[in-house]
Every structure is written in C-alpha cells, then in structure tokens.
Amino acid sequence: MKKNRISVKRGLSLIEIAAAVLVFSAAVIPLYHAMSYGAKEDIHIDKIAVADKILSSFRDEIKNMDFKTVAGLYGTARVYKGTEDMTPNTFKEFLKEKEKYKDFEFEAETTKQDSPIESISFKAKVTWTSATNKGERKLAFVKVNTLTP
C-alpha cells in the first residue's frame, strides 16, 4: 500500500517573533539615537561653519576697506547688533543663512585707539540656538590705519 507524503512547514512561534523583535529593537534603537545625534551634530557643525563664514566675510570686508571708511562706520566704540551697519556682502550672507536656519544673531563690539597707532579693534560674535544650549562663535581682529602719515 502507498502512503501520501505530506509537507510539513514549520512556522515561527510567537516567542521567536517576540525574540526577534526584541533583538531588532536592541539593535535599532541605539542606531536611531546615533543617527539622531549625528543629524544634530551635522546641524551644529553646519551652523558653526555658517557662523565662521559670516565672521570671516565680515573680517575680509573690513580688511579690504580703507581705514577712513571703516572709521566712518565703526569709529565709535560701541556694540553693533544684528544687521546694523553690517558690511554689504556679509549682510547678504547673513540674511540668507538666517532665512534658511531661522536662527543666528550677529554682534560686533568696536574699540578705537588713536595712539600710538590709529586702529579699530573688532570683537565679532555670531550666536544661534541649539538643542542643548546656545551656540556661539567669536572672531577678533584689528583694522589698522596703514596709510602713510
């Protein structure tokens, strides 16, 4: 007499699925956190780079202006906030980034020295908000009157 073969396919039990889900979760959750941290870090670094770019642009523009013009704009010792009296290219850059990130504040503190060498000191700062705290970048430089007396 012939017997009919019957295929027996074994299924996954609930325990196996639960175990698999558990293991998967144990792996994915840290990965998610890592990716999440990376993304935050990316944004932070991007903002640092933007802040540096704004500060460098500001410094380069001041560097390329003649002293008389700089003294006219920044000769009074005070703090310039936001886009007040910002140099033109820096102003454009700053607005673009502010629109993109909806963030960033700019501030420049100037001090004038008349002797022995006439100069204007700049302490520029760009700040932004971040998840954990306030981000901040600084750059200080001096514009010196190098015209022949």
């Binding site: 175990a19 792996a27 990965l31 890592a34 932070h44 540096d52 750059l139 200080a140």
Partner: protein
Amino acid sequence: MTKRTGSAILLVLVAIAVIGTLALWFVNSKSQRSGFARFMSDETKLEALAESATEFLLAKLKASINKHDYSDDVTASLYHLVRQALPVKSTKPGRNHILDTESALTVSSADVNLVGIYKSALDPLVVSYGWQPSDVTYETEISLATAENFAPKDSYKVCGADSPHQKAEGSSAKFLDAADMSELVAENDGDYDSAPLWAPSGWYLSFNLPVIESPHKHEFEGTWKVSGDGGAGELTQLTDARKEIEQKLANPDLTTEQRAALQQQLDNAINEIDNFKTSGKTLKVTVSITKNGPAKFSTHFTGKIKIMGITFTLDRAGPSLDINAELKEHCPFLKCIDDMSQPVKSLRKHVFTDSSFSKLYKADDFVALAKTRLDEVKKYHNIDTGTQKYVEKGTMLQFKTTVTHNQAGKKSSKTLVAQIPLKVTDVQPVAPEYSLFVANSNLLSEGSLPGLGEKIDLNDWEPRDTPEKAIGQFIVHNYPATVESGKTKANLAPLFKNACLPGMVRVNAQTSTADEAMILGTFVGTFDEPELTELNAIVSPSGGEGNSAQANDSRGNLFRTEPSFIWRTKDDNLVPAPSVHHELELPVLFTDAELDTSSPIRDIPDAGLAQIANFFKSSAFNLQMKPTLLSGNANMEYPLGIAIEGPINRIFSRIRVQVRPSAHASLSGVIDLTRIRYNYEHISRYSDNIPRDFSTAPQGKHARYGMHKYKPAIDNKVWNSNSDYKYMPMNCYSTLQYAKKASRFYSSASDFVSDMGKAVDKGGLKNSDGSIMVNGVYFIDGGLDLGGQKFKGNGLIVAKGTIKINGNITRADDKTTLGLIARRSFIHFGPSCSRVEAACFSNEAPFSSGQKLHIDGNLVTNDFKRTNLLDVHVCYNSRACSVSPLATLRNLGKFEPKRYWVSAADNWAKTFYEKKSN
C-alpha cells in the same frame, strides 16, 4: 519529514554587529567634523592675530621710515633697514641690477621690541577668545626679500652712482673725494707757486698788500697856524730845548738851586712855545716815514702831525688845502702806509682766518660735521666704498609674523608672510657742490643737441631791443647772497650756523690746446654796487676821513687800500715802457680799446687815481662791458677746489690809465724811461723781498699785489673732456630712471597742479601752512608751469618737458632742499619770476626773460647760451643744495640716510601662510 535547522541568533548577531559598526562610524565622523570645525576656528583666530600684528608693523614702518630724527631703537632699526647699501648680485643689459639681499641686515623681535608695537592692542582680543595672553607668543622678522636698482634703458651712467666723479682740483677740496674716514680731512694749499691761495693755517684767501718799509718823504708847503703843543721846524728847537730841560730835571742828584734854575728855563721854554703858537709863522712840514715802522697817517688826514711824540694840529691859514686829495694825487701809497697795520688787519679780519667771516671759509667746520654724521651712520651701515653698492632701490619688504598659542601642552601656530613694495629714492639735487656746472655733453642730453661739446662763448652777449634794456649781467656768487632793494648783496652771517661751503665752477668743452680754451672774465663789481664783491669793496677808492665826499661814502673801501700797479708792457716783458700808459693789474674792469675793438669804451681815463676813481663811477663803467662774470665774496674766481674746472682761462680785467710824468730822462733823444711822480719803494711778500724802486721798471721777478695769479685749469689736461661720465654732474639720472623711482608720478601737469591745491590729508600736497610738500621725487610726464609756490621738505620736481616759472619759488625753511629738473627740455624763467630758491637743472640752455633774477641754490645745465641769461645772479647756497654736509661728499655721501625718501605702496603685494614643516 525533513528538518532544517539554522541559527536565527547568529543572524541577528551579525545584523547587530553590522548595524553597530555603521552607527559607530557615523558618530565618529560627526565628532571628527566637529573637532575639525573647532580646530579651524582656532586657526582662524591665530590668523586674525597674525594679520592684525602685521598691520600694526606696517603702520609703524610707514610712520618711521622717513623719520630722520628718530628717538627710539625700533624707529631707528626700521629707518636704517630700508636704507642699506646693497652690492650687486647680477646684471643684465637694459634691466635693473638685482641686488644681493641675502647678506642684508634684518630686523627681528629678538633684537628690538617689535612685539611691543602691537601686543597691548591684541591682548584684549586674546582674552575675548577665552585664552590667556601669556599663552600667546609672537615672533616677527622684517627683511628685504628682493631689491633692484633703477637702471636706465641703455648705457647711460649716473656720475656718483655708476661712475666715480673726477677728483677735485687742489687740496682744499680734497675732502669732497674722501673714500673713507681717514681721508676726511680739511687741508690747505700752502704752496704759493702752485696754488698760492690758501695760507697754511686755516683756509683763507691770502692777499698781498704793499708794505712800505722804506723812507718816503713828501713835502707840504704853505702857511700854517699852529696849535697844540708845538710845531715843526722852529718849534723843533723849542721842543728840543724843553725836552732837554725836562731830562735834566729828572736827575735826582740836583741841588735845590739847580732845580729851581732849570724849572725857570722850562717855564721860559714853554712860554716861547706858546708864543709860537699864535705867531702865525710859516712852517715847512716834512712828513717822514721811518724805516722802522709806518707813520700815523691819520695825523695827516686830520691835519695833525706828530713829531717826536708831540702832536701838532695844523690849520692852514690861507686857502684850504685838501690834504687828502693832495696826498692821493701825489702819493697814493702814503694812504696805504697810514698805519698800514690797520688796513691789513681789517683785511685780515674780513678775509683771513681770524674773523667771523673767515669762519665761513673754513673747511674744518664742514668736515667736522660730515665726520660726526658718518660716525652715527657707521653704527647701522657698512660704509665701505670699495665695492659698488646701491642705497637707492626698489625693494619688496617682507614681514614674517608667527603667532603661537600654547595651552595645556597643546600648541598651535600660524606664520603669516606679507610683502609690500617700497621705493628708496635719492632726493639729492644734481651737482650739489657746484655753483655753476655746464656739462656741455651729449652723454646727458638723451638725444642729440646741436652744438654740444664745442667750446662755449661765455662772453657772448648782444643787446636786447634797446641798449637800455640790455643789462646783460650773469653773475655767479660762490657764496650765498641776498637781494636788498633790488640789489644783490653778499650776506653770509646768518647762513653758517651749520657750516657751508663755497661753490665750485665747471664748464666742460672738448678742447686740446690753450688757444682753444674758453675765456671767462672775472668780476670786480662796480662803484655803484661795491658790495657785490667784498674784494671790490676793499679796493674801491673811497672812505677817507674828514668831510670829503669820499669820506662820506660809506659803501666802499673799508680798508682804504688802493690798487697798486707795476710796470708791464703789453706783451708782459719787463722792460721800461716808453708809453705813458700804465696798466693797473689788480681787479678793475677791463676796457682796452686796443685789445678789445668791440668795447664801447674808447676813452682812457685822465691821469691820477682820483680820475680813475671817477671813472669807476661813470655810467660807461658798468657791467655791460663784461657781461659774463663770476664773483664771490672774497673768493671770487677762487671757488672751492682752487680751480674753475674745465678748459677755461680766466682773465683779470685791467684798465689802462695815463700817468703824468714828472720828468724825463732821455738818451739820444729817445725816451727810454718815464719817471713817475710816485717815488716810493715797496716790497712784495710774494717776491723775493728785495726792495724795488718803481721809478724804474722792476727788474727780475715782478711783484704782484692783490689776487694771486690764477692757475688756469687748461694746464691740466684732466679736465679737457666731456665724453666721460666722470666729468658729468653728480646725481643726474635719466628720464626713465626718474620715472621709475618717482614717489609720485603724474601723467600730466594738470594732475600735479591739482594735487598742489589739495590738502595733504586728502592725498594732495598742500600743507596746512599753505606750503607745498615736496618729499621724494615727483615726476611729471610733460611740461610744467610753476610760480608763486613755497616748498617744504626734501625733494626733486622732475619734468620731462619745459619748466616754466611764472612767479617766485621759495623754500619754507632752512632744512628744505628743492631740485627743479627739466630733464629733456629747459627751464624758462618768466618775466614775473625774480627769485628762485632751488637747485636748478636744465638740459637745454636755460632762458630768462630779461628781468633781474636771483637764483638761490645753484645752476646746472647741459647746454648753455650766454645770450639767454641777462641780469641773472646765481648765488650758491650749499645748505639748500644738499640735505647735509655728509651728503655733499662724492664717495661717502651716498651713505647719508637723509638723502633718501622711502615710499611704500598702499596695499600688500602678496600675503600667504607658511606651511608647517613636518
């Protein structure tokens, strides 16, 4: 039933491992990026500090580089850094020479406090970064990265820079050519034969005056009233008697009775003398000059005589006798012998060493100043003149600043290298040691000017329009002079606080024999303007005592000397002259109808020196007669160097006068000698001290009075050339070189004029006091109109084209030196220009419009036309032609830092950060 077994756990573990690795990598890269961002931020901060520090250094440099009166080490170091003399490293024809900067000195913060210039300004910035100022260190070094001189396009050479100058003639000017300190000595020419101009001690003009050392008698006759203590002749006996009595009375051994008797005799003698005074008796007065010394001639002029120590006053009873005129007419030398020591002393006072005037001529003062300055300069520069070096240059000045931040063992640094172009420009005027320099050479002309090189007619003069306008004078004063009331007058006193020199004179021409030499008349001034030359003032016949017109003429003859004369024939043979004409050799104006047929003066003055004096005053005797003249205050025709350089013969002017013979001696009816009324003997210092009787022609070596014989430079073939750069004026650069080294370049005159109207702080040239700043070389690529400006500073205004001066040009102060250079054209002194205070260079012949013009500085020309210059005085002013005594020296002068003006570009040429070496 088939059983398949597998490990789900393994699979999951593998998956976890892969995912974990990915996660870690992801996180790590973000951290690196974040760290990099922080690192770049630190680098940016260091860069900002380095750039700021460099900017401060640049500002300090620009403030220091032209500060001649520096007071601190930093300024001194920067000032001298750029003024180093650099040897040549390599050359290419037509290109600037590359100068060797490898061995050049540098200035570093290790040696001088360069960091102090900027540290205090940068510390607050460091603090704003959250750093400690002590954690940040700076190092700075400033050096010459590259350097080139300003070479011409072709084979042109600059005398003094590319070619040495021909050495000066005579020991007195030797110090000008000193090659080192040991040669910087003021010497004098003591040899009377070769250059008999300077006495051994000091540096002064020696002047021979006749010295009467032999008896001379002149008799006056007339009726005289006698007042005073006695009289001559009969009185002599009375006074002799009185003296004898007085001598007896002096004997201490006399008895009372003897003394009383002698006293009675004395009283009688005195009574007799008193009676004689009012007697109205005639006296025959004999004036005797003893061999042992001159008589007091003033006694004669004032009508007093002194006989045997007793003074008598003579009043003529009859018609008055003008003793002065009498004596001058008949005995001119008596005038000289009047206390001969007095005029000699006066002359010495004003010409020789022991006077305030003579101080002016002393090279010692000048040389001492030059030496002192050289000692200061030696501290910073190698003043070796052995190798060719250039101070003037275009250079790239390099600043290297390293900023290092060291915190908790972690070190980061940035090194900024920045370069800025500088020009170091020589502002010394052309040929500053010359009053007049005529180069006469196509070596300078930058083209070909017709006629250059040939002999120049220095006496060529033609009347302009009408004779009244033809003043025609061109006078070079080798010492400064001023103009007062339209008259030029030597004015030396205020100018010699800092030592000055007389000028030199040079006129080039290619001649080969003495016959071809150019002729230069020598100037004596006129009676109207005796103060034009001191020597003329000395010999002008005026200034007597009493109430004569001459006595009231205070202008001339302070020394009461008379020109002397000797017997000479036309051909200089010392034989008795049959002619009644006699030549006065001493400086008087030349007019000799026989020698100069073009001379309008035909009449020879009447006999007698009084007539000659009148001739001086006459309108016929004026500067038109000899328009090309050189003069100087007591060193006329004798500028520094004892030579007028160039193939030039100097002639004294001379005048022929008639003398009135008092007797003839004839042999065989032929007049072979003429006796002159002046019966005297005199001895010349210059001769062999043998007394000569000038009633006959002197035998042997004749005596000369007044100025020594001037040695013409033609004898020295050295000067017979204008085809070598060593005979060219010093510091004369080509047009291209001036353009290259210009601190301001103007493509047109209008730009320059516009800048003259703009304030200095707005980039222009106008100072707050209205004067025009002139520092460095201003080059105008074309012609230029000037006039009415006052200039201040040390600089040259160089125009490629014509400089037309329509008003006066003045210097603002004694420290200013201004050179006006018409490099390819000429200087035109317009009709409104009467005074130009500048060292003037004109390539083509300068031109004046005929008005009286006074140039205070010097005049250097390439071409020269006498007819272009009418009524011009060039008054040499060594202080105005040279920034300092040291700068005037031909070899050592280039080391004088004040000669150089440094101009820097507005912006950096190159900046980069040095890569860190591994």
